[in-house]
């Protein structure tokens, strides 16, 4: 019935299994299963001595399949795979059966039934082993080049890091300049460096790297291929197109500043400006803070403009923009410095800054500048989530009314020279790029990572990484860390020049496939593509992208896809073995 030669090893686990499962009986029953060439019990299968014995069996008995029935595969799958390697048996022809966690320990109340179950489990393992074939890990060659899209700080820093690892980098920047928003800004928190200086330093370093190529006024217009080898078309200066081949792509396209709609908190009126605009004003002011020749003495900051707007209209931004509280506080300190110098409060008489906020989100070390602002005379007033301040113009001056929750909701009126709308970050308009790269975008409009906790720079498209504020609002150091992290992931893919993949991936039976496209839709990794075999349109699985999850399998109407290790035949023989009755005579009468 079978010409397989399978070794079966049933472990006592020093009593952990054998106290509840009659391991000798299990062995006696299963050694008559078709294809079983050796069946033994061990006190501890994982011990060196037992492994050595199994290795000798594999060699002496020319075993071509192996079943170890012991503890959970989480403990020893790798142990026995390594043992198979040493014995010269293909590691994927080894099957582990879980007799401890899922049998003896769970059924300590009935040893007879535990033994029956163990027999069925081991028979299923044998049945699967009979249908194993030698498999090899797949080696995918990778191109040691990376494309970075966006030459803001995150992109520039990522490029530098990769270049230092010997990987070639192409930077594609849509605008004519590098540095993004940072280039436009003066003193930035938390380290009081000038944004322009940071960019200058970075771009100088980039220029010195021979293996970095920078394209400005450039866009990615076409992409094909997959991780390890993407082929791209770059359009530069609007007309000529350059082809590039890279192994990975880092998307670091940055953010935009929220632009309030006209009338929102008085926006559009003279003296009402966004935080970004105000920051530029402060940065530009060498000594006294003034506008149009008039000194600025009373400033009102209204926080959460364009952020945390739940239940609003279409372009409402329900998320928190993360950087604005700290930026506003920092800018207020800078504004005070410009107006009053670094001296104590008495030097600053007549200069007032009112911060109308909801929650002060100066997390972590940003707490210190917030404290500093409090000490330096900034007044903080909390307004209710559903009770925003109102900005009017009265007698030519701006008047802000707010119900201050710190005063039990009492209304306060403030006459202001300037109203600063603390505006958040919004996603950059990137429709064309999204279309080319097939990158997923979240409900907030930023690019979506594959896992928000543990894989914050990876996307569902292997080899396409997201960095900096393209993924969501961030401060400068956070954005740079994100860029470096994306560089790390790119290097992890490309540095060795190849990637080894487990062979448990999907495979299409082209004789059955009629190309309906269901699998293409089902695969979140883009591992399916249309191809043609002898003129017939069929699906093809890209091994480098397939994760072996199997999402394509149940959707195929023709039952044309299988995963190695979990084929129909394997699963069905296992099911049959798991349900088959255990008959006592089997001990004596070999099953044919």
């Amino acid at each position: 019935m079978t010409d397989r030669r399978i070794g079966v090893y049933v472990c006592s686990c020093g009593g952990n299994i054998s106290d509840y499962v009659d391991v000798a009986r299990v062995r006696d029953v299963v050694e008559h299963e078709p294809g079983v060439a050796a069946a033994r019990t061990h006190m501890f299968t994982c011990s060196d001595a037992s492994q050595q014995e199994i290795i000798e069996d594999i060699r002496n008995e020319s075993l071509d399949g192996l079943v170890v029935a012991s503890c959970s595969p989480k403990l020893h799958l790798f142990t026995f795979r390594a043992m198979a390697d040493r014995a010269g048996l293909n590691r994927y022809q080894y099957v582990q059966v879980n007799l401890r966690e899922q049998c003896s320990w769970a059924h300590r109340d009935d040893t007879a039934l535990a033994t029956e179950k163990a027999i069925r489990l081991v028979r299923a393992g044998i049945a699967k082993a009979r249908l194993t074939e030698p498999l090899a890990t797949m080696r995918i060659e990778t191109t040691p080049k990376v494309l970075v899209i966006g030459a803001g700080v995150a992109g520039l820093r990522a490029a530098l890091a990769l270049s230092e690892l010997g990987l070639s980098v192409f930077i594609v920047e849509r605008s004519s300049d590098v540095g993004g928003w940072t280039r436009r800004w003066g003193k930035m928190f938390p380290h009081q460096q000038q944004g322009s200086d940071i960019v200058a330093a970075l771009s100088a370093r980039v220029r010195h790297r021979e293996n970095i190529t920078l394209f400005t006024n450039a866009e990615v217009v076409e992409k094909s291929g997959s991780v390890g080898k993407f082929t791209l078309q770059i359009r530069v200066d609007g007309f000529h197109t350059i082809p590039l081949v890279v192994g990975a792509i880092i998307v670091a396209t940055g953010f935009d500043v929220y632009r309030p709609s006209p009338g929102e908190f008085g926006y559009g009126q003279d003296g009402v400006m966004t935080l970004a605009e105000f920051k530029e004003l402060v940065d530009r002011s060498p000594e006294d803070l003034s506008r149009g020749g008039r000194g600025i003495k009373d400033i009102v900051y209204i926080y959460c403009v364009g952020s945390r707007q739940s239940g609003g209209g279409d372009d409402a931004h329900s998320y928190c923009s993360r950087y604005c509280c700290a930026t506003a506080v920092h800018t207020a300190i800078c504004a005070r410095e410009v107006s009053c110098g670094l001296g104590p409060a008495k030097d600053c008489i007549g200069f007032h800054q009112f911060h109308l906020f909801r929650d002060m989100r100066t997390y972590g070390k940003h707490e210190i500048p917030y404290e500093d602002a409090c000490r330096k005379g900034c007044v903080f007033m909390k307004y209710g989530d559903d009770d925003p301040p109102k900005v009017d113009r009265v007698d030519g001056r701006l008047r802000v009314r707010v119900n201050d929750q710190y005063l039990g909701g009492e209304e306060v009126e403030i006459d202001a020279d300037l109203v600063v709308l603390v505006t958040g970050m919004v996603p950059r308009e990137n429709a064309a790029l999204v279309d080319v790269l097939k990158l997923p975008v979240g409900v907030d409009g930023f690019f979506n990572e594959i896992h928000p906790k543990l894989r914050p720079v990876e996307t569902v498209v292997d080899g396409e990484l997201i960095a900096g504020t393209a993924q969501g609002p961030k401060t400068l150091p956070e954005s740079v860390a994100s860029g470096l992290s994306a560089a790390a992931k790119a290097a992890a893919l490309l540095k060795k020049g190849y990637v080894d993949l487990e062979p448990f991936i999907a495979e299409v039976d082209t004789s059955r496939c009629v190309w309906c496209g269901e699998c293409l839709d089902a695969c979140p990794y883009g591992a399916v593509e249309k191809t043609s075999v002898q003129g017939k349109e069929v699906a093809r699985i890209l091994p480098s992208l397939c994760k072996g999850a199997g999402a394509c399998i149940p959707v195929c109407p023709e039952n044309a896809i299988e995963i190695a290790g979990y084929t129909d035949a394997q699963v069905e023989v296992m099911i049959d073995a798991l349900v088959r009755e255990v008959v006592v005579e089997e001990v004596a009468v070999p099953v044919t």
Binding site: N16, I368, K382, A481
Partner: protein, 908 residues
């Protein structure tokens, strides 16, 4: 590259989420990585969480694959339970690393993680992975998801009591077994190390108790009495030993000279090894000093008889009335080796006139007569005992029991110099023995050859003599005559080795000359122990020495090299102050009451003086044990382990290696909620920390359900106090901890899921829901009904039934002083820098920022780079961070570390 040891491209210190991420990233790049984690599992704190915000993913489900990947990555070597001793930057730009692997006392290869050792273990310790909400055992698997999933044993060192025992009896093990009611196991444990538990539990001077750490509090654990209960119980149930001669027999035979404690012990251990053992005893009965020297009111003879059976059951033959006069004769009789264990039997003489008179006897002779039951009538007589050792006390007390009217002890030095144990002196005094210090007889006066009086002189103390004690100098004109009927001389016993003088090298004082480590004599096949070697000493010392001599003798007969190795495998003794520091709030627990028979009544009877402890009393006394060493060495795990994986004599393994770059991923410390005393943590059981709440909400929780710690009731009104230990000058931490708002919001959501009827209130200052998806998560919690109150909590008081009154100021209300009652309060404790990170480096120091975190000198451009070129920092070691930010930061550290390694390779 390196000075000894192996080389890795990168060392990652810390196996939490940041460390694992860094190691995996670098491993994938193709670099070799050494990951060092001090805890017994990688995974850090994240794997202990219930779920993670804002996705409510199960923390275990997303951590464990990462842990498995780290452990199995071909480029990553993950060492757990390992401490870095120092990292030194070298001129070439690489780093020298010294580390040591802490012993787990379990062979990791053999261990299958089955947990049977845990079930068997007799020591309960607070479980650090459950933040001390429940006990674990000293033998334990860190938690079900641990990687590697292997048991280990918590041992701080030898417990002082066990370490103190000259015989190596595991006093701590016996106490912990008795504490559990495992009396027979305790007996067997004793027999591992000494075969005379009955005698020792009565007549031992109990150095274990003298060393007991509890002695520094209200009094030591009464180890000897605990042992006595255990032995009595066992002997009652087992009048005969449960075993016979060992199955494995050896051809060689050994002669043991003397059947005192040393001889019996040596015979026992040799017989257990399978040797044919014959004990030669000069007296008519076996036991030596145990039978002849110790009166039965201290050691009943039936106990001694039963102890001797422990030895004879192994097939040991004891030949009484057999004085050995020549060692060579024994050889001629066919013995392959001889062990001399004769006692100090030759009485010393004072050399005073009248010493030969009838009625002047040495203490040994006197006690031998008494103990062998000779009729001695001292009714109404006066007895003087001369001497200051324990050997003076016993004859004095025996004389009282024989009817003496007056018993007097004269000692030529003062009380302070007296070698006798205090309690013996006190017991004798209580019974009516009179002590005269700084007095000694110079002459014995007799009539008809029989002593009638002594002539004593007073003494004063001069300069210290060779023994280190001050020399007594007679005071002129202080002569005093005292009428006596009997004088017992208890001075200077000498070993009875004289007959062997021609055959064996002896010291001047008559002791046998031996190699002090091996106890081998000048004749290779002769070993010696006990008083014959060290002069008169205690029973337990003799036993310990005999065991050592038997060990050497066995090695000798096996043809093995003799030496120190292999005999004493004790760990260094733990520091008692450290033990006390572990439990700063120990309450005084009354030691048991001393329940001896009243002194007046007992002094006239040879019945045993000391009353036994009752069972409940014994277990109470045993529960006072502080488990100084952690593990008690009771060996229950050794018996339980099916894989034979327990190895109690592991030692730290040191390693020196070189690495190209270092990533510090040492994580954070949690704020200690005790430091905020107004919140009552540690005093009010229903005030817990958020880490504890996270454990309670986890499926692998310490309790079977979310119940409050005061009484197991399901809580229905739970409060969270945010910013506990954060944004707070008073506790020295001005920083925001970044994660508390969100984890509290997460816990609130989970509580609403687990207890739909419960009210949950979060007291906050600002809700810092700043990350991706956080604001939405916060809104979701509000929509579920979580009540957010803006205000700092000033104080928490406990009210009736364990509930808690929170005093807070609602900053959104005018004059907002307020209070509210809750039945469970969660302190959302903050994150603090882990100062350990800064101590890793020798030489060039790793700079800290003003808050104590690892400093990143150019964070805006090179986040993750530290003050030392080539050293990087990942995760919360440089700032409070949530998980995604830690991951990003780890990526930054690892790519820069890789860059450093490349620049080194290219010789920059």
């Amino acid at each position: 590259m390196g000075n000894g040891g192996s080389h890795y491209d990168v060392l990652v210190v810390g196996g939490g989420i940041a460390g694992m991420e860094s190691a995996l990233t670098l491993g994938d790049m193709g670099y070799t990585v050494l990951l060092v984690e001090k805890e017994p599992s990688i995974g850090g704190k994240m794997v202990l969480l219930s779920k993670v915000f804002p996705t409510l993913d199960c923390a275990s489900c997303i951590s464990t694959p990462k842990m498995a990947a780290t452990a199995n990555h071909p480029g990553v070597n993950a060492l757990t339970h390992t401490e870095i001793d120092e990292i030194i930057k070298r001129d070439g730009g690489d780093f020298l690393v010294r580390l040591h692997r802490k012993p787990t006392f379990v062979d990791p290869v053999a261990c299958t993680g089955c947990g049977q050792c845990e079930t068997a273990c007799t020591v309960a310790l607070p479980d650090q992975f459950h933040y001390e909400m429940v006990a674990r055992r000293a033998a334990y698997i860190p938690y079900p998801q641990a990687v590697p999933k292997k048991a280990l044993i918590e041992r701080h060192g030898s417990s002082p009591c066990s370490f103190a025992c000259p015989a190596g009896v595991k006093a701590h093990g016996i106490v912990s077994l008795v504490r559990c009611g495992k009396y027979a196991e305790a007996f067997h444990l004793h027999m591992e190390d000494a075969p005379l538990p009955g005698c020792l539990s009565r007549a031992c001077y109990a150095p274990c108790e003298a060393e007991c750490t509890r002695g520094q509090l209200e009094g030591p654990v009464p180890i000897r009495l605990i042992k006595r209960f255990m032995v009595d119980r066992y002997y009652q149930e087992h009048p005969e030993p449960e075993y016979g001669p060992p199955e494995k027999r050896r051809g060689e035979t050994v002669a043991v000279v003397g059947s005192g404690p040393g001889g019996l012990t040596a015979a026992f251990f040799l017989a257990r090894e399978g040797y044919g053992v014959t004990v030669f005893e000069a007296a008519s009965e076996a036991g030596g000093v145990l039978r002849l020297g110790i009166p039965s009111y201290r050691l009943p003879k039936d106990v001694l008889d039963r102890d001797i059976k422990n030895v004879t059951a192994l097939g040991v033959e004891i030949r009484t009335n057999s004085r050995v006069r020549s060692i060579n004769e024994l050889k001629e009789q066919g013995f392959d080796a001889v062990l001399l264990a004769g006692g100090a039997m030759d009485p010393g003489r004072m050399g005073a006139p009248g010493e030969e008179l009838e009625g002047v006897v040495d203490c040994l002779t006197f006690l031998r007569e008494v103990n062998l039951g000779r009729q001695i009538d001292l009714d109404g007589k006066t007895v003087m005992v001369v001497g200051g050792g324990n050997a003076a006390i016993d004859p004095a007390r025996a004389a009282l029991r024989l009817g003496a009217r007056k018993v007097l002890i004269q000692y030529r030095r003062s009380r302070a110099e007296m070698p006798a144990h205090d309690w013996e002196v006190e017991a004798a005094r209580a019974e009516g023995v009179e002590f005269q210090f700084l007095k000694a007889p110079q002459r014995f006066l007799g009539i008809d050859g029989r002593v009638v009086a002594t002539e004593s002189l007073s003494m004063r103390l001069g300069e210290p003599d060779s023994s280190g004690r001050r020399r007594p100098i007679p005071v002129d004109g202080s002569k005093q005559t005292i009428p006596v009927d009997l004088v017992v001389l208890s001075i200077g016993l000498r070993p009875g080795t004289t007959p062997f003088a021609p055959e064996l090298e002896l010291e001047k004082n008559g002791r046998v000359h031996v190699n002090s480590a091996t106890l081998q004599t000048s004749i290779p096949w002769v070993f010696a122990a006990g008083d014959a070697v060290s002069g008169p000493s205690s029973i337990v010392d003799a036993i310990g020495q005999a065991r050592r001599a038997a060990f050497s003798l066995d090695r000798y007969l096996n043809g093995e090299v003799l030496g120190e190795a292999g005999f004493d495998e004790r760990l260094p003794v733990v520091d008692k102050q450290a033990v006390l520091a572990r439990s700063p709030s120990l309450a005084v627990r009354s030691p048991r009451e001393k329940r001896e028979l009243a002194a007046e009544g007992r002094a006239r009877s040879f019945a045993e003086i000391e009353a036994p402890l009752a069972e409940t009393e014994v277990r109470y006394c045993a529960s006072r044990c502080l488990d100084c060493g952690g593990c008690s060495e009771c060996r229950e795990c050794v018996r339980a382990c099916p894989a034979n994986a327990i190895s109690l004599n592991m030692h730290p393994e040191e390693e020196v290696l070189s690495v190209g770059s270092v990533i510090v991923a040492t994580g954070f410390k949690l704020f200690d909620a005790h430091l905020k005393p107004t919140y009552g943590y540690g005093r009010y059981p229903n005030v817990i920390t958020a880490m504890q709440m996270d454990r309670l909400l986890s499926p692998t929780r310490p309790y079977h359900h979310l119940v409050r710690p005061s009484d197991g009731k399901v809580p229905d009104n739970i409060a969270f106090v945010l910013c506990t230990g954060s944004r707070d000058y008073k506790v020295g931490n001005r920083l925001c901890s970044t994660v508390c708002c969100m984890y509290s919001t997460k816990q609130a959501q989970l509580i609403m899921g687990a207890l739909p009827l419960a009210d949950v209130t979060i007291y906050y200052i600002d809700i810092r829901a700043f990350g991706k998806g956080y604001e939405e998560f916060f809104e979701q919690a509000k929509a579920m009904g979580v009540n957010y109150v803006k205000g700092r909590v000033a104080k928490i008081d406990q009210v009736d039934g364990g509930s808690l009154m929170l005093h807070y100021e609602d900053t959104t209300e005018r004059g907002g002083a307020n209070q509210a009652e809750h039945d469970l309060v969660v302190l959302s404790i903050g994150i603090l820098p882990n100062a350990d990170a800064l101590k890793l480096f020798e030489g060039e120091a790793l700079a800290a920022d003003p808050f104590g975190y690892v400093r990143e000198p150019n964070e805006s451009i090179d986040p993750g780079r530290t003050s030392i070129d080539g050293v990087f920092v990942a995760g919360t070691a440089s700032a409070a961070r949530d998980i995604p930010d830690s991951i990003l930061h780890s990526g930054a550290a690892s790519v820069q570390a890789a860059g450093y390694v490349e620049s080194m390779r290219n010789g920059r």
